[in-house]
Symmetry: C2
Subunit: 112 residues, 2 copies
């Protein structure tokens, strides 16, 4: 279930971003959505996802709601107020990181 090795540290940001879109989501749904959005490039492993979700919940960024659908359990997660704020921060941080990396990979001569 894995592929890209470089996304270390960005998983929680990805989760927060998806949930900031509006709707609550459950774990499996997140893996499938990311897979689809990235054309299969990024396959989030369950061993990474569930601990990450639990940590975000423990940190007060997510609320959980358990539902039974088709006789199967789903744990729906949504952002708390704190989570909404944090998603904005994390997104900005990730975007700044990308710009920073771009500054190295594709530098402007004046700074190289």
């Amino acid at each position: 279930m894995s592929n890209a090795k470089l996304y270390k540290g960005s998983l929680s940001t990805i989760i927060l971003k998806l949930l900031a879109e509006g709707d609550k989501m459950y774990g499996y749904e997140i893996t499938q959505k990311v897979k689809k959005m990235t054309q299969g490039e990024l396959k989030i492993t369950e061993g990474a996802l569930y601990p990450a979700l639990h940590k975000l919940e423990a940190d007060g960024l997510l609320d959980v709601e358990v539902k039974k659908v088709d006789n199967r359990l789903r744990k729906y997660y949504k952002l708390t107020e704190k989570g909404t704020k944090e998603s904005i921060n994390k997104l900005a941080e990730l975007e700044r990181f990308i710009e920073t990396i771009q500054g190295i990979v594709n530098p402007k001569p004046s700074l190289g």
Copy 2:
């Protein structure tokens, strides 16, 4: 010596990229160059840098040459042939990773 926290996994790629520019470099020089190129955004810690350099050397991607300048030791690193190839691969991988992340952070509606 640290600041931006999201670059896990990209350090060796950064090192290879800088050395692919042409000139040999020594460790301290790399930290200073990255700091300058990123306007202080990315400060590579020595605890990360030196083990990374040693691993790249052990993997046959870098060659070392020790010099004494102003009565201080410098270990100059340069790419081996293998390292040159690997730098190209790693760079491409990093760029694909960035595109993938962009696809999530700034998705096209058709895939969202």
